[in-house]
């Protein structure tokens, strides 16, 4: 009772239970007078009392761990040396400082017990063939996964298996999208169904899309819809072309549609690139407009802005956008980095 009064809360209990060393302490030791003049009944009574008293007075207490209160704190650093659960998380490679932003997460993490609450999840992820480092990253990103019921997680994995995802695919999905397992089977089914219906995908295409970009599946449906609208209606690509772009560059559908439109407008109106060429290389649309403008202006100045594959001195859009500045200046523009840097300072 004494201990509970000091440390209320689960965290404190685990703290005590884990490092228990017995120290005998006798408190309130009194000299009990033994009087021979008292009658027998009284003697018996006092004997009993003495026995009771002695039992009450001798405590086996652990004073090592009796400490000042754990004061309210802004970070885990003040707790970690005393808390076994935090130490276990530290061993798992979790970045504990990232939890501090959210108070609810911090409280939740402290209320856990490694043996009862966390160990089964570690085993579960081990069975999924997920490496130690990624496990730490998954918990860092989504600590609430530990709140889920382990049977539910097995069901969610089984759902993927029954949808013909191979174990390697499942490992990749869980690794690159830590929030995947927090969604219920119904939600995931509805999300996959949305993509299949919205873009008229085949089963294999849905699977390859899921594996190449697992984050897209659980992304906000609204953003995907708005992006599809922008690409289909505002830019004027056909449904088939939109589908092709989705499979080639799924990240395009996770971006802000205003930025994509800006890039598209520059590509189509300033650089005179046809829609067919953009369909072949949808990666260009994910490029920032500023970067594209800088590079295009540089090529224009050198009179190398030739994007027609049928004519000589052709510059492919993907190499224009994806290569780093040094490679772009020497290989695409056939100039030097110094000249390109000077050019960047002049616009």
């Amino acid at each position: 009772m004494f201990r509970k009064a000091i440390y209320s809360g689960n965290f404190a209990k685990t703290l005590i239970n884990n490092s228990f060393s017995n120290v005998a302490v006798i408190t309130n030791k009194e000299v009990i007078p033994t009087n021979s003049n008292v009658d027998k009944s009284k003697e018996i009574n006092s004997d009993l009392e003495l026995k009771e008293k002695l039992e009450f007075e001798i405590h086996i207490e652990d004073l090592n761990e009796i400490d000042t209160y754990l004061k309210p704190t802004f970070n885990f650093a003040s707790y970690i040396n005393k808390s076994p659960i935090l130490q276990e998380f530290f061993k798992l490679g979790v970045d504990l400082y990232k939890f501090e932003k959210n108070q609810d997460v911090a409280k939740f993490i402290l209320s856990l017990n490694y043996e009862n609450d966390v160990h089964k999840f570690v085993e579960f992820f081990n069975d999924l063939n997920i490496s130690h480092e990624s496990l730490g990253k998954i918990i860092t990103k989504n600590p609430y996964i530990l709140k889920e019921n382990i049977e539910d997680l097995v069901v969610r994995i089984n759902y993927l298996k029954c949808k013909k995802f191979t174990p390697e695919m499942i490992t990749r999905i869980v690794e690159s999208n830590p929030f995947w397992l927090s969604y219920t089977t119904q939600q995931i089914d509805q999300m996959l169904g949305f993509f299949q219906k919205h873009f008229t995908l085949k089963g294999d295409e849905v699977r390859s899309l899921t594996v190449t970009c697992p984050k897209l599946i659980t992304f906000k449906e609204r953003t995907v819809k708005v992006n599809t609208f922008a690409i289909h209606e505002e830019m004027g690509f056909s449904t088939e072309e939109v589908k092709g772009m989705l499979l080639k560059k799924p990240k395009l559908f996770m971006r802000d549609q205003r930025n994509v439109l800006k890039t598209f407008e520059y590509l189509h109106n300033e650089m005179n690139i046809s829609l067919d060429q953009i369909v072949d290389e949808p990666g260009v649309l994910t490029c920032r407009c500023n970067r594209l403008r800088e590079r295009h202006k540089f090529l224009k100045k050198l009179e190398r802005d030739q994007f027609d594959p049928k004519k000589p001195m052709y510059v492919s859009l993907t190499t224009l956008v994806s290569s780093p500045d040094a490679d772009f200046a020497t290989e695409v523009a056939k100039s030097s980095v110094q000249i390109y840097n000077e050019f960047l300072k002049s616009i």
């Binding site: 650093a77 504990l96 300072k345």
Partner: protein, 309 residues
């Protein structure tokens, strides 16, 4: 980099950095990018090692063991990275608007004080303003809505130069008015002999030299030397030039090409933000400031010549 310890580099990080701000990005965002890169680089170096703590374990009635164990509370995974952008003070000495590109000076740590002195001493800045005749927009920039169109064929370079020199002389006259002296007096003459004067007030924009350096109608480029300017002042200036030439004009680009003794050559591009480059740049800037001490501690109110080499 030869030095591997982060604390050593941290101690060196004080002074002025000269960076190149591209258009369509705010000074705030550029500052964030610079600090994030510096801190990331510092964290990748050899940071302070984890401290140790003494643990006394065992039964107090028997033998106790004393151990020295690493203090987990000091581990970067628990307390967070050693260097945070929020803990690195940085401030700019001249503000450039969203549409302006060019030289921007940042003061880091103790350099913030230098940045403050630089700002309060109001050094001269040179701008290249690109404009186009024939169209006027609602915000004076190319991004705005076109509100007026006009002919521009009648404008020649001599027209432009005549106008610019008259604007320049009116600004020079204004300088003496701000000083509170009559133009025809002896005191005005004594002041004029010393060279151009700075305004005492930080609110009045002043143009010292205006020159048309390129004229390919309808496009033109003007170089302006000024104090206390801001983006909107410069765009309205281009608009005014358009109306005074009996046409209309809007601004297509604003570039700060010189800030006191700092030129474009010294400026660091955003892609070159690394710890090594920042340190080299800082060293160059401190040498320049050492050569031009007047920039920080002025002796007289008149402008002095600056050594840009």
């Amino acid at each position: 980099m030869l030095v591997k310890e982060a604390p050593v580099i941290w101690n060196l990080l004080k002074g002025i950095v000269c960076v190149y701000k591209p258009a369509e990005i705010t000074c705030e965002n550029l500052r964030k990018a610079l600090l994030a890169k510096i801190c990331a680089d510092l964290n990748n170096m050899e940071c302070r090692s984890i401290s140790e703590r003494v643990v006394i374990e065992g039964n107090p009635l028997e033998k106790l063991t004393v151990n020295v164990v690493p203090n987990l509370a000091d581990h970067p995974a628990v307390v967070g990275p050693r260097y945070l952008p929020d803990e690195l003070p940085a401030s700019w000495s001249n503000y450039l608007g969203w549409n302006t590109c060019g030289i921007l000076l940042f003061g880091l740590r103790e350099g913030t004080r230098t940045a403050k002195y630089l700002r309060e001493n109001r050094p001269m800045r040179a701008y290249k303003l690109k404009g186009t005749l024939g169209k006027a927009t609602d915000n004076g920039l190319a991004s705005g809505k076109v509100v007026e169109k006009s002919t521009w064929k009648h404008v020649t370079k001599s027209h432009m130069e005549k106008l610019l020199s008259s604007i320049q002389s009116s600004h020079q006259k204004q300088m003496f008015q701000l000083c509170g002296v009559d133009l025809q007096s002896q005191t005005a003459y004594d002041l004029a002999v010393q060279g151009p004067i700075r305004p005492a007030n930080s609110k009045v924009p002043l143009l010292y030299g205006i020159k048309c350096i390129e004229f390919t109608p309808p496009n033109f480029v003007i170089e302006v030397h000024c104090i206390n300017e801001n983006e909107s002042y410069l765009t309205t200036f281009i608009h005014e030039i358009g109306t005074k030439l009996h046409s209309t004009a809007h601004c297509t680009a604003l570039q700060c090409v010189r800030h006191s003794c700092f030129t474009l050559e010294d400026a660091l591009l955003k892609k070159h933000f690394t710890l090594q480059n920042v340190l080299t740049n800082m060293e160059k800037c401190s040498i320049k400031l050492e050569e031009n001490k007047d920039l920080l501690y002025q002796k007289s109110a008149s402008l002095t010549s600056i050594n840009t080499e």
